[in-house]
């Protein structure tokens, strides 16, 4: 069906809904039942549909070109917050920043640190399982989500989990939706368990000017084997450390959050154990926050993809997430620096030595970036890990597989997809293996 006809059709069926259409029809529901009605319509008429929040992840994976796009930008707000229970229920279109701002008034926070917090919506963060360096201390989406309301492709509204922090009633269906890239259902509300805002925060930047990664490894192992409790232990490659903190060498960003006496004590530990020939800076509260905010917005995202292109003076930028056994992060980060040093592609990289998750930004010509992605994927897979593309500019769409090889249990994933979205209307082909 051409878009004009689809739009006319939809307007006739849903006169109350705000919609706009150029290349495809975008609908802006305000209520959950509106989402459900649209889904049921799409399911019956086999119209493909995808969901968008702030748009930061429009280049994540293999975005589907669907006939309808559901924008949740009008579906926002806190549904329920019980400070004494330390839980909050929020509508999926709410931005991460707005939620954190609200919770901060109660000295609480959602213990996640995703990228682009001012634009990324709660639904998008959960659907993509985005995470940041502080996952070392606080875990990831699957550790904070305790309940979901999801609109299934046939319009059913299904709750999973609940509103309490401990719950084993039935299957843990929340987990299916977290990181499912919008291929199973539309998350409409999320209930999280919360943490208190830390009373004090600081960040140690420990730089290794001589570039000896063996020293970095020794220090990291010693710190991890100590009883210190860093909430982030992130290694930045020289290229990224230069851009972030004006130092062109391997740098560890070590974050502490606790009561003040504990934070100061841990800073002292770092000072006392600082390896020779390194430089150390301690950033406190606001400075530390500013550093992390800069890091959260360092990678390209879906919001700027439209400005990029193959033109002569415009470079292409892609973002990758690489998962690997924790300490092999050192090898991935080195590999990124070698790419940069070799002039093949500019690679800004950081990775958690206690988490095994690396984030890499590649900039250069289309071909350079595509080659960089392939190279890093090959390296990660050889080392027992994986690499996915979190932001793939449209120009690379046909050249690069965003997800890599299918897992051995892919038939189970297909089975789940077939049960939940038998007509394959939701974000078709957007996820691994073309699911």
């Amino acid at each position: 069906m051409v878009t004009a006809e689809l739009l006319a059709d939809l307007k006739a069926i849903f006169p109350e809904l705000k919609m706009a259409g150029e290349e495809s029809v975008t609908i802006f529901p305000k209520k959950e039942e509106e989402i459900a009605k649209v889904m049921a319509y799409c399911n019956d008429s086999k119209t493909t549909v995808s969901v968008v929040g702030g748009g930061t992840k429009q280049g994540w994976g293999t975005p589907a070109k669907t006939q309808i796009q559901l924008s949740l930008e009008d579906y926002t707000g806190i549904v329920e917050h019980t400070p004494g229970d330390m839980t909050v229920t929020v509508k999926a279109g709410t931005t991460f920043k707005e939620l954190q701002g609200f919770l901060a008034q109660h000295s609480q926070k959602l213990a996640l640190d995703p990228s682009w917090p001012a634009y990324a919506t709660v639904g998008g963060v959960i659907a993509s399982n985005d995470s940041g360096p502080k996952r070392l201390g606080y875990g990831i989406a699957r550790d904070s989500v305790i309940g979901l309301r999801t609109v299934y492709p046939d319009g059913r509204i299904i709750r999973s989990g609940g509103r309490v922090v401990k719950n084993v009633a039935g299957y843990d269906m929340n987990k299916l939706f977290i990181g499912s890239m919008g291929t199973l259902g539309i998350i409409s509300e999320v209930t999280f368990k919360l943490r208190p805002l830390p009373k004090c925060e600081s960040l140690a930047l420990l730089s290794f000017p001589e570039g000896n990664l063996e020293e970095v490894r020794r220090f990291a192992i010693k710190l991890l084997d100590s009883m210190m409790e860093p909430v982030a232990l992130e290694l930045l490659n020289p290229f990224m450390a230069g851009n972030m903190a004006d130092r062109n060498c391997y740098t560890l960003a070590i974050s502490f959050e606790d009561v003040e006496t504990s934070v100061r004590y841990q800073e002292q530990y770092i000072k006392a154990n600082q390896p020779a020939r390194t430089s150390l800076d301690i950033l406190t509260d606001e400075e530390a926050k500013a550093f992390w905010n800069k890091l959260y917005t360092a990678a390209p995202c879906g919001l700027d993809s439209l400005e990029e292109g193959t033109g002569s003076n415009k470079e292409t930028a892609a973002a990758m997430k690489i998962g690997i056994v924790n300490l092999k992060v050192l090898d991935v980060i080195r590999e990124c620096q070698l790419l940069s040093d070799g002039g093949q592609v500019a690679a800004e990289a950081h990775g958690g030595l206690g988490t095994g998750i690396c984030q890499v930004v590649l900039r250069g010509s289309d071909d350079q970036v595509a080659a960089g992605i392939m190279h890093l994927r090959k390296f990660a897979v050889q080392e027992g890990g994986y690499a996915v593309v979190k932001h793939l500019p449209e120009v690379l769409g046909g050249k690069v597989d965003a997800w890599g090889d299918k897992p051995s249990y892919f038939p189970l994933m297909e089975g789940i997809k077939a049960k939940m979205d038998p007509n394959r209307i939701l974000n078709p082909n957007a996820f691994i293996g073309g699911i």
Binding site: T82, P83, G84, D85, M86, N129, G139, R142, D143, R156, I158, R159, S160, G162, R163, V164, V165, K166, N167, V168, A169, G170, Y171, D172, K175, L176, I178, G179, S180, L184, P196, I221, L224, D225, M227, M228, E229, D258, V259, T261, S262, Y265, Q266, G323, V325, N326, G356, I357, G384, Y386, V388, G404, P407, S408, Y409, L412, M413, G415, I416, M420
Partner: protein, 486 residues
């Protein structure tokens, strides 16, 4: 295949299965041997299995499962049998696949904070194996000295310290699984986080042995906290104790554990094997533990003491040493069994409520106790709102078992009605199948059984657990009562 001579039965399947697991000593099939397997920690319901097999490795598990799958034989996996909701009870005369011979610690990798175990490996043994080097495995169910990690994965087991550190699902990095058709899959290869694809690790953990049989587990291990302090606080009324719990949490402290016992529970633990001298006339005791960087603990303990005093605590004290701390915990962790000292039988429930509803819920449980004429002791993980009402009864008195079951169910209804759930860590099993309707609609239950069909289409693996059978509600209640009366 030749029959194994020493096996004396005409059941050909037993001979075939014995062939798969390699010897007659790896299979039980005589009634007298099977009796030990007719229930687990949920003893109200009993059924005999057809046989019990003891595979030694993944391949044998897969071969047994494949055989069952091809011959339409119901089967299920069993660890130590400590489950409290009946998940390992062979309702359908299942072949039980016992995992106790697969009990090796395969690998410890401290630098990358992970360990690989076989499913029959006992929970506490993992911590004991790495404690010398300052590490531990966080999930600590009360039965941790004998329960297996495979069983913990099936039930998504919790424990007293999951308030700060999370439950089993938060510590599982990878699984090797035998699917109900005998196929072997690996999820979370090498323990690498966030493997792209649907999170089957999360789905399988807590699926109560209905989606697959776990044969290898990669877990996260943690470094011991530098310091730890434990506080005991006695309250003359439950409302003050509950309010203290809320105040501690809202003051921004994340305790490692925050446990509560009421007067009846205190009577039990003091009459049992690990008394610590709790005053007999107090209404509530709180056991609070804070761990982390030593330098930061003192001020948190001070804050906790201040909160308790502001809530009219009668007495509050900090454990002087590890020995005293150990006694307090032994007293608490053996709390369920301790009820045996004051009652011939007891039924453990496992509801969860929003913390803020604690006083209201305790009052309603009290009312249920009065109306049923049965005493109900309350032991709970107050910090995360996970209640364990223990309904005390005497099975020898006709009708009392049914009354106890009903009182337990009513307690769960109260939890569900205030926005909570029917189980926080023990699982649904057989026990709470019908109570699933307190928290989920038919549609929501169907959404879950749809997923089961993907993994377990023939429903031979642990059938009849976890979900209510549509329209069979009345029948099952009758069956429960008939079986309870035995």
């Amino acid at each position: 295949m030749a029959f194994l001579k020493e096996i004396k039965t005409n059941d050909q399947h037993i001979h075939k299965l014995a062939g798969i697991v390699g010897s007659a000593r790896s299979i039980l099939y005589k009634k007298e041997d099977l009796l030990a397997y007719d229930c687990d920690g949920f003893t109200i319901h009993k059924h005999l299995p057809r046989a019990v097999v003891f595979p030694k490795n993944t391949e044998e598990v897969a071969a047994v499962v494949k055989y069952c799958h091809e011959n339409d034989l119901p089967f299920l996996a069993r660890g130590a049998g400590t489950g409290l909701s009946g998940g390992a009870i062979p309702l359908n005369n299942e072949i039980i696949i016992s995992m106790v011979k697969m009990k090796r610690l395969l690998r410890v990798d401290l630098e990358n904070r992970r360990a690989v175990v076989e499913p029959g490996f006992v929970n506490l043994k993992l911590t004991n194996s790495i404690s010398e080097r300052g590490y531990y495995y966080a999930p600590d169910p009360s039965s941790q000295y004998c329960c297996t990690i495979g069983g913990n994965v099936a039930e998504n087991a919790g424990g007293a310290h999951c308030l700060k550190y999370g439950v089993t699902t938060n510590h599982i990095l990878g699984l090797e699984v035998v699917l109900p058709n005998g196929e072997i899959i690996e999820i979370g290869k090498d323990g690498v986080a966030d493997e792209p694809g649907y999170d089957l690790l999360g789905l399988l953990t807590g699926s109560e042995g209905t989606l697959g049989i776990v044969t290898k587990i990669t877990v996260r291990i943690l470094k011991n906290p530098e310091g730890k302090q434990t506080v005991l606080a006695y309250f003359d009324n439950v409302a003050d104790g509950s309010q203290a719990v809320s105040d501690i949490i809202s003051s921004g402290i994340v305790p490692a554990a925050l446990e509560m016992m009421d007067k009846t529970a205190i009577e039990g633990v003091e009459a049992a094997a690990f008394p610590v001298g709790h005053p007999k006339d107090i209404e509530a005791v709180l056991l609070i533990e804070v761990d982390g960087i030593t330098a930061g603990i003192d001020e948190q303990i001070e804050q906790i003491l201040t909160v308790c005093r502001s809530r009219n605590v009668r007495e509050v004290k900090v454990a002087r040493d590890e020995a005293e701390r150990g006694r307090w915990w032994a007293n608490r962790k053996t709390g369920f069994g301790a009820m045996g000292a004051i009652s011939p039988d007891y039924l453990v429930q496992d509801g969860v409520i929003p913390r803020s509803k604690l006083p209201e819920v305790l009052a309603r449980i009290n009312q249920i106790s009065e109306e049923s004429g049965l005493r109900i002791a309350n032991i709970f993980h107050a910090g995360d709102g996970n209640l364990h009402p223990l309904v005390l009864f005497d099975a020898r008195v006709p009708g009392e078992t049914e009354k106890a079951l009903e009182a337990g169910s009513l307690c769960l209804k109260v939890c569900a009605d205030v926005g909570g759930t029917i189980t926080g860590e023990h699982g649904v099993g057989i026990e709470k199948r019908e109570e699933m309707r307190f928290v989920f609609t038919e549609e929501e239950i169907a959404a879950q059984t749809d997923v089961r069909e993907v993994f377990n289409p023939k429903n031979l693996l642990n059938a009849g657990k976890l979900f209510p059978s549509p329209g069979r509600c009345v029948e099952i209640k009758k069956e429960m009562k008939a079986s309870a009366a035995l």
